[in-house]
Symmetry: C2
């Protein structure tokens, strides 16, 4: 059936199901959802069940939009909005988008704008015609979030075209008589870095992740030139499990190559992705390397990004439905569930995941309506790769901080901007608040503060305890006074030139670049200071050299190479990883409901992937296999 | 390096290596070979070593052609040719092709035209300028061979363009830094029928076989629509292991889809392929089905076919060399050896093969300069799939024939036109000649006689004993007087209406169509007659029903359906198969030199492929795997 026919068919069905006297003017696909235009938005707003029932009956996501003719002028509308919402909601900004009939309302307490079951929103619609969309006023101002929202507004016309075209492709209908599902590994199999997989059926092709291996020049990019991926417009959509560069760092390259399809990810993943991509370009330029793409390609990707919240079942291809679930790895990280065909097959791609509740996140989800195949990460898949518990890690860190501060020393913690930094921040804030460690300043340098701002923008993506703390107790740990963002060269110089007991969290995590180097140069020679590693240090990085015990460390700066004498203490605190350790990996599968039939391992060195696959096979009597780059396996 | 540069570079190198005073006018790629044009063909002809040494030094196939300016007019030339060759050579035809400067000489004894080490040929070149090419005068006239030769002559201009373009693509040079080799199964894995595999590297993609599953409407074609094969012009070349429809039946479809690349196969495979493709169209039309392609597509394929003899090492892509070896399965069947990269990997694709010397062919080759991976057929891969020896089978057949003829009965043998028919013919001829069975007529109906004519055209593809019999003893069994081709409806009617003791070999092999039905209808009710199966009868065929013991067999003809009463004897003679039995499959790998590292099984039902893979693994401690359709495995 041609899309036009599908649409007119849907319109007829909707009209049949509407209460008497309710009319619609047109229907159109927009990305994965069906937009219903009406001249009577009030009637729809009156009855919250209409849309819910329609969505259920038609098995698709539906939004109702006012026909542009019934919209109240913006200047009048904003008055009505402010009249309707309670003052405590703290509306801080708004923006009218006539193309979609939407008004974006930025509020400190979005819940109050939404109202119980969306009551207040419906009231607004009834009064002004516009469809209100509520976003949170970030408690910490994030340049990234601000820029992205601004960018989306500026490009709303392009975006509307993109969404319409994506929507029509999703609803193009199935044509093949064959039924099969296969998975091709283009990167990240028996290795870490450049994760990239393709799920394909006779109807469609979905790319999952498109990472860059920043640690390797030879094997930097996935095998994107093979026929399964090239030319790139054969791909229907890109699905991103989370925002780390080894999972999304080359997405802008796809657009540089002419990709025109959508990216699906969670809202935090979109924002963190943009932040990390722009930083990647920056770092490459600073290292004198030619970045593989430009900021224009990053923006092109953003324009094509469709965000989905956890648990939203969404059509992303004629025969594929995607649902994200919490993965517990970093903010917005998602276990991705693909339902293929009409009950033909269900495959779960874990992405990186933590199967344990942490300070920031709930444990990764492993309950699904159905699942036959699982593709899972294996970073700590090796049988000896158990990690200390989080409590042990916290205690360990507290002790190190205490003993260093007792000597009036400085604690320097190299950390990645996204993920471990925020975990360590919460641990430190908690310890300071409870008086376990002294109330010293915790300096945050590099991109850590910006990444934290993004975390603060999306509290609904943090775990229950943290959310309660923020919303019910009004106590946002990220806003604690102990945190001091290093937002100028002057402040950094002051910290270095006037050393005082403090904790410094700074990028980069493996000490191969970033402001951490400045601090290290300044503090390495004093034996009262301590360098604390909370993350993995890869071969060839400065961090690894220090761990190996180098005592004299050559460093090159603008002014030439000189040698740093290494006197400060070096400590390693394991257990803060965002990855499941071996036990958790095994448990995740063992306790998965329903029990899967087959498990494929990836994202780990060769030994870890093979060891995990073989252990799961032995323990659970499931078919397992360690995936191999450039190989294709058949699920059905 | 651009092709033009490569060519001028090659020209320089050739000029450096030529003896003093020998000049060349130009060089050009033509398919896989390098053509050197000279105004002094006599000098090259004088010294047979020049070309041999050049080919060795440049590691490519070289032919020397006279510059058109030095060619003697054809009418004079033919006189010189007849003067030069001995009368006994029996020159029966000739054809001058000014585009390539060649004269095709058809002779009864090509060896005499060629002379010792090519002496006579060189003498001819010296005298007339033209390059002589010698083909055998077919001892039995084959319409197919004749038509193909005529077609190639008529289309020599197109062919020259095709060969030039293919040649330039082969020599386009390598560009990728990556090194990998992978194999994708598009058909024929864990099944028999629609064999189709792709070997790919970063530089090139080779399709091996492209068969049709004539027995299945649902799974008739390989998965040609997947990105590894579609669009089809990403494929560099198609390599055919042999001429059976399940290995080449859909090749014309590739040309219908716009394929422009070459087909590589042996000369007999080309001729048998054309015969079987045209028959396939014919049969489909007769059954009221729409054939998937037309005879124009068959011709397009022929135009793009480049024939290679056994043991000729040939560049077919910038990084792939192909060598065919005898496979012992049917006339021209080839074990295909691919040398990939500069020593990177060697993979042997067996195609269908018989690892035992038969009446017609030598045992399949399993010695190679190097081999790491083997992709092998598994028709009789199951552990209980042993077959009687050929001697037993022969004796068995002789006994059945004798006992039937004793009762004045008729022996009816349904058989495939290509392969088993000729084997059975030789067995019967031998038995008649030696007086083991009475000298009765052996009627050949259907395409058997035409296929036999093609066998007779290529005695160099038969085994040593048979070649000796034909060339040294002048005793060609195919020409024996006992064979009576049924070349008219009248003769067939006569055989039916005036029954007399005889043997009838007729297509089709599974009795689902063809003249065998006519004979069956006529002879089934007489209990003195015998029906002898020498080949496999698939489910759903008339042959299988008879084997199951049906006593009343409904047959539909133009005049409606009627029932044949089944009184004739039914016998099954196993052991004439062109496939290796289980023991031979195991031995083929065990005795392979050098020892391969990995073995992949295909071309067998699921159980046979898995059983064989697992047995080879256990017996030889090699990595093995049964391939799966739509999966890709990595060899390097």
């Amino acid at each position: 059936m041609a899309v036009e026919e599908v649409l007119s068919d849907l319109k007829k069905k909707i009209e049949e199901k509407l209460p008497n006297g309710t009319t619609i003017s047109s229907v159109e696909f927009e990305g994965p959802q069906l937009v219903v235009y009406t001249e009577e938005p009030k009637k729809f707003a009156d009855n919250g069940n209409i849309v819910r029932n329609l969505a259920k009956a038609l098995r698709t996501r539906i939004v109702v939009r006012p026909d542009p003719r019934v919209l109240m002028p913006p200047e009048e509308s904003i008055g009505k909005i402010l009249e309707t919402v309670p003052d405590e909601s703290g509306v801080s900004n708004h923006h009218f988008d006539p193309d979609v009939g939407e008004v974006i309302i930025e509020a400190e307490k979005p819940g109050l704008v939404i109202g119980k079951h969306g009551e207040t929103l419906r009231e607004i619609t009834k009064k002004i015609g516009w469809t209100p969309k509520v976003v949170r006023t970030p408690p910490i101002k994030s340049r990234t979030v601000q820029n992205i929202r601004e960018f989306m507004r500026t490009n709303h016309k392009d975006r509307k075209d993109i969404l319409k075209s994506v929507g029509r492709k999703i609803h193009r209908g199935c044509t093949s008589k064959d039924e099969w599902v296969r998975v091709t590994s283009l990167g990240g199999a028996k290795e870490v870095g450049r994760s990239c997989f393709i799920i394909s059926t006779p109807e469609s092709r979905i790319m999952i992740d498109c990472g860059v291996n920043v640690g390797s020049d030879d094997n930097m990019t996935p095998y994107l030139y093979v026929p399964e991926a090239y030319p790139i417009n054969q791909i229907d959509a890109v699905v991103l499990t989370h925002a780390h560069l080894d999972h999304q760092g080359l997405v802008p390259l796809l657009y540089k190559y002419g990709f025109e399809g959508p990216i699906y990810c969670t809202p935090p993943t979109r924002d963190l992705m943009a932040l990390l991509q722009l930083d990647y370009i920056d770092v490459a330029a600073k290292e004198g390397k030619r970045p593989p793409y430009s900021s224009a390609d990053v923006r092109e990707g953003l324009k094509h990004t469709i965000v989905l919240d956890y648990e939203e079942v969404t059509d992303i291809a004629p025969d594929i439905k995607l649902t994200f679930h919490n993965a517990g790895h970093i903010l917005g990280s998602a276990v991705s569930h693909f339902h293929i065909g009409d009950g033909l097959h269900n495959v779960v791609v874990t992405g990186d995941f933590k199967y344990e509740k942490t300070r920031l996140f709930d444990a990764a989800v492993n309950r699904f309506p159905r699942v036959e195949s699982v593709i899972m990460e294996s970073t700590y898949g090796n049988s000896n790769a158990t990690q200390p518990s989080l409590q042990e890690a916290e205690k360990n860190l507290q002790n190190i901080v205490n003993s260093t501060l007792k000597k009036d020393g400085i604690v320097l913690i190299p950390a990645f901007a996204v993920g471990r930094s925020q975990e360590v921040m919460i641990v430190l804030e908690d310890a300071i608040r409870k008086g376990i460690i002294p109330n010293v300043p915790v300096y945050l340098d590099g991109m850590i503060w910006e990444a934290t701002a993004i975390h603060a923008t999306y509290p609904e993506y943090l775990n229950n305890d943290l959310r309660k703390l923020i919303f019910q107790k009004g106590q946002n740990p990220f806003l604690s006074e102990c945190f001091k963002p290093v937002d100028s060269n002057e402040l950094r110089q002051k910290i270095i030139e006037e050393p005082h007991p403090c904790v410094i969290l700074s990028t980069s995590g493996m000490m191969n670049a970033g402001p951490v180097i400045e601090y290290f140069k300044a503090f390495a020679e004093n034996e009262n200071n301590t360098l604390v590693f909370v993350g993995y240090q890869a071969d060839g990085t400065l961090g690894r050299r220090i761990q190996k015990g180098w005592k004299e460390i050559p460093l090159s700066t603008n002014k030439g190479t000189f040698v740093v004498k290494m006197n400060m203490n070096v400590e390693v605190v394991d257990g803060f990883s965002g990855h499941s350790d071996r036990r958790q990996l095994m448990d995740y599968i063992k306790k998965m409901k329903p029990r899967p039939e087959r498990v494929y391992t990836e994202h780990g060195d060769e030994r870890s992937c093979i060891d995990l696959a073989s252990s799961i096979h032995k323990r659970n009597k499931m078919e397992t296999k360690a995936l191999t780059n450039l190989e294709t396996v058949r699920l059905v």
